[in-house]
């Protein structure tokens, strides 16, 4: 079938949602822009009446009443053709791609805001991802990210994201680029501004930034594995930039979500955890694909100007087929970079769980009741020493995460876990201060001896406080 055959005369138009269905969907999207809208429903335990609950309920209703066929939804944020399953989405997008009318997708937030996605560029070859193959390369950076956690063991999202961006640069571009934070910044801005007027300047800046690394690519990195087609380093730039964006997203966001799933025991190992995190909480939770010309898929006529909305994160329980665009990239035809990124995320989780024990602090959920959405930037995970190791005795002064953060809205058990860690640290401080007071350097003058007594006094106070806080922590933990 070609577009020249006037598909509208030989195929059906997609079913259109009713006015009430459109209104409910629009209201659910609009409500995502208003904080605390979910509070009454959550307090009453009515998950179906939360924003996510209403949205997924409506999608399930459309699936039932329209026989699983794509439906045209008119919302306050645009009119979308919504496929009801991963298989339909894959078929629809593949047909549009084949007809040459599929435009570059953009992301859609639950609140209806559009944002740029890193444009998909094929890598040119599949990257070998044997178990453990890339583990050694990322070990140092993952260890540094673990060590940079706060004093109470919790991860600072910005610090974790910076650490994982470093992992991505090393693995994708090479060891020489590991320190190049500007590269990640420029790549992120280029992705976010995809489709905008400033995109050209951003990609030019990204190209300039990547050029020195690609001129002599690190053979141990992904860039070094790409086929040399004689087109020069500039040709590989877009593919490497796309891989960098996708791997950063997976290593930072998906890996942290996987650690949270592991912490509550809903999955068994790193591979399953990353797979489940990607299925439930894909980085590209919803994407809009513009159609630049009419085409027919099966017996469905899709008109010029249609926007196809594929939102795997909005009803993850309804489709476990695993079909459809990658949750990390959004490309309809699959993405080798996304598959590689999934492997990197698994290696990150494997390395973290080998070193420390993840504990979920917030939000509160269990293996039997996983949340509909899990934004990695609001996720609070703590790392505890694996069983049998001594408690945390790091000095955090001088580190970006040294300043204590305000903690609120957690469960008593989560507070108990945090307070227990603080009690351990206070006890370690008591030992450190006492040991420092024992240094012979204090003997030299009156001030030194005074400071020694000060240190001993604080050591005693830390020990007392540790005991008090530990007792309270035990109570809180229940």
């Amino acid at each position: 079938m070609t577009t020249a055959e006037s598909p509208a005369t030989t195929a059906r138009r997609p079913a259109t949602a009713r006015a009430l269905e459109n209104a409910v969907f629009s209201a659910a999207m609009l409500a995502h822009r208003l904080p605390w809208t979910d509070a009454p429903a959550r307090a009453l335990g009515l998950d179906a009446l939360t924003r996510d609950g209403v949205r997924s309920g409506l999608l399930a209703h459309l699936r039932r009443t329209r026989s699983g066929r794509p439906v045209r939804l008119r919302t306050a944020f645009g009119t979308f053709l919504v496929p009801q399953s991963g298989a339909d989405a894959a078929g629809l997008l593949a047909a549009a791609d084949e007809a040459g009318v599929l435009g570059a997708p953009c992301g859609l937030t639950p609140g209806g805001l559009r944002y740029g996605l890193s444009p998909h560029v094929p890598l040119g070859r599949e990257v070998a991802v044997e178990p453990g193959q890339w583990a050694a390369l990322l070990a140092q950076d993952v260890d540094a990210a673990i060590a940079a956690r706060r004093g109470d063991g919790t991860l600072d999202w910005d610090g974790w994201r910076r650490g994982m961006a470093r992992v991505a640069r090393r693995v994708v571009v090479g060891a020489a680029a590991a320190e190049d934070t500007l590269l990640s910044e420029v790549a992120a801005r280029a992705s976010a501004e995809s489709g905008s007027r400033s995109y050209g300047a951003r990609t030019a800046a990204l190209g300039r930034r990547l050029a020195p690394y690609l001129a002599d690519p690190d053979p141990s990195s992904l860039a070094g594995c790409l086929p040399a087609d004689g087109a020069g380093p500039q040709a590989a730039g877009p593919a490497v930039a796309h891989a960098l964006a996708v791997v950063e997203g997976a290593a930072a966001g998906t890996a942290l979500q996987a650690l949270a799933l592991l912490a509550v025991g809903s999955v068994a190992g790193p591979g399953e955890a990353v797979g489940e995190a990607l299925r439930r909480y894909p980085a590209v939770g919803a994407a809009v694909y513009p159609v630049g010309g009419a085409f027919v898929w099966e017996d469905l006529a899709v008109e010029y100007g249609t926007e196809i909305l594929w939102a795997p994160a909005w009803a993850p329980e309804e489709d476990r087929s695993g079909q459809g665009p990658s949750g990390l990239c959004g490309a309809p035809s699959g993405c080798a970079a996304a598959r590689f990124a999934e492997h990197v995320a698994q290696e990150v989780v494997r390395r973290v769980t080998a070193a420390v024990h993840p504990v979920l602090i917030s939000p509160s959920f269990g293996a039997d009741r996983l949340p509909d959405a899990l934004d990695p930037s609001t996720l609070l995970v703590a790392f505890r020493e694996a069983d049998g190791l001594i408690a945390d005795g790091r000095v955090t002064v001088g580190m970006p995460a040294a300043v204590p953060v305000t903690v609120h809205g957690f469960t008593p058990a989560a507070y108990g876990a945090l307070a227990h860690a603080s009690a351990d640290r206070l006890e370690r401080h008591a030992e450190s201060l006492a040991a420092c007071a024992g240094n012979g350097g204090w003997d030299t003058d009156e001030a030194g001896e005074r400071f020694r007594m000060t240190l001993l006094g604080h050591s005693e106070r830390c020990a007392r406080a540790a005991g008090d806080v530990r007792r309270a922590a035990k109570r809180l933990a229940g």
Partner: protein, 474 residues
């Protein structure tokens, strides 16, 4: 000494016995040991603060209330246990903080002069830092200066004011300021912790943790407020060099002393300079010279005013940076061009702020940032390959304002080149003038001059254009 635990091992110097000082020399506690102990105490103080916040958060959380309805016995026992931990005089002390209830409790404690464990440890950590600095700055160990620092550590502000007055009376304003400048951040932090104002404590905690404060030490106002005092999109217009400037620029070359002299000749009334250089390797490169603050008025029509200086210290997007971005756009500097920025005082801060700007750093390649007497240690360029060179006279008050004093736990990156010296020829403000720096680099510290010049040889070549621009706020 018993083994110090884990990561703390690296902070405490090796076991020392009593030091055998030479005849006549007073024995002093080692500065390294004092700094190590202050870091341990600071970490303990921050942990005590965190523990207090966690217990307060637990007690005041809605979920605890909901659980209490279901399990009143457990809730009562837990509440008693938490309150006991939060108020035990031998433990956390009056340790509640965080959240609405916690902050109200903390404020109540602050205005009633309670000194919880976290504050006591923080105060002693600052006291140790001050003592450590005094080892290398003997002026701080004079009876008058010690009277001031002891009063601040004791929280006796009236006595501190008297001591400051006595210090000024004896030494004069500029010498007194210079005397306390190495520990100015510690003194401000102590004042914030121990005064009756409970909303300015963030400054002290961030200073204690080795960070860069984003609030003022007196009222606790956020630095973002400075943006309202320093508004304007920034504007750049071509200007002509007057005869004096023209003469100085005529002899200028790729030499740090020459750049500092050029900045001195540009003055502090809004003029900056963009230089085009046809370099020896055939490439065209650019040098941007940014002068510092005009001290005449708090705020004037140019970005080079006192408000702009504080804005540049605490934030990156200022009228100065916006005006310079206009300049770069207006001058048609090609994307990808190599650029070196040299700035004095506020000009150095602005150079770093421009280097931190992702848009600027990705459009041009900022190869070097050279700052002269600028408090830049809390800032980091966006491009890790940017070579930062900081020239600091330790007798100059201004470079200390970034919070990194001699005893601070934070340090600058290894890749930076910081060249510092102690030149007591002039007190502040003369010690801060570009001419004072130029004199030093031309005189006894020519090795530093050579060292800097060696790092900027890529800019050797023929000057093919010197274009001054007048910068305005609006």
């Amino acid at each position: 000494m018993t083994q110090v635990v884990d990561g703390t091992t690296g902070h405490v110097p090796a076991q020392q016995g009593p030091q055998g000082a030479g005849p006549g020399a007073p024995e002093r506690t080692d500065a390294e040991l004092l700094i190590a102990a202050s870091i341990l105490l600071a970490d303990a103080a921050l942990t005590a603060k965190q523990a207090g916040a966690e217990l307060t958060g637990a007690l005041s959380s809605g979920r605890f209330v909901l659980d209490a309805l279901r399990r009143p016995g457990w809730a009562l026992g837990t509440a008693v246990s938490c309150v006991k931990a939060l108020t035990s005089p031998a433990g956390l002390g009056f340790g509640a903080n965080g959240g609405l209830l916690g902050e109200l409790a903390r404020m109540a404690g602050s205005v009633t002069y309670r000194r919880p464990a976290k504050v006591a440890m923080a105060v002693d950590a600052f006291a140790m830092r001050i003592r450590a600095v005094a080892v290398e700055h003997p002026n701080l160990d004079s009876p008058l200066a010690r009277r001031l620092t002891d009063a601040m550590v004791g929280g006796n502000r009236l006595e501190a004011l008297r001591a400051m007055y006595a210090l000024v009376e004896r030494l004069g304003v500029t010498r007194a300021l210079t005397t306390v400048s190495p520990v100015i951040m510690e003194l401000l932090a102590l004042s914030g912790l121990l005064d009756e104002n409970p909303v300015n404590d963030d400054f002290s905690w961030v200073t204690l943790a080795g960070g860069v404060p984003t609030t003022d030490p007196f009222l606790g106002l956020p630095s973002s407020l400075l943006g309202y005092l320093n508004p304007g999109p920034g504007r750049a217009e071509r200007a002509d060099a007057d005869s004096i400037l023209e003469k100085v620029l005529g002899t200028s070359r790729n030499d740090i002393v020459s750049y500092v002299n050029d900045i001195g000749a540009l003055g502090n009334h809004g003029l900056v300079l963009l230089r085009r250089v046809a370099c020896a390797d055939g490439q065209q490169r650019y040098v941007l010279l940014l002068p510092g603050t005009s001290f005449g008025l708090l705020s004037n029509s140019t970005p080079q005013d006192l408000v702009g200086a504080f804005d540049g210290l605490l934030r990156t997007d200022t009228t100065y940076t916006r005006a310079v971005k206009q300049l770069l756009l207006r001058s048609g500097l090609p994307a990808g061009s190599e650029l070196m920025i040299v700035g004095h005082s506020l000009g150095g801060l602005t150079a770093m702020n421009l280097a931190m700007d992702v848009d600027v750093a990705s459009t041009y390649r900022i190869t070097h940032v050279i700052t002269v007497g600028s408090p830049i240690d809390g800032k980091r360029p966006a491009d890790h390959t940017t070579q930062v060179i900081s020239l600091v006279n330790k007798h100059d008050v201004i470079p200390m304002l970034d919070g990194r004093g001699p005893a601070s736990p934070n340090d600058i990156p290894d890749s930076w080149v910081e060249l510092s010296w102690l030149d007591e020829s002039y007190d502040y403000p003369l010690s801060h003038a570009p001419q004072a720096y130029s004199d030093t680099l031309r005189g006894e510290l020519t090795t530093y001059r050579d060292q800097v010049n060696k790092l900027i040889t890529a800019y050797d070549g023929e000057v093919i254009g010197n274009q001054p621009y007048m910068l305005r706020d609006k």
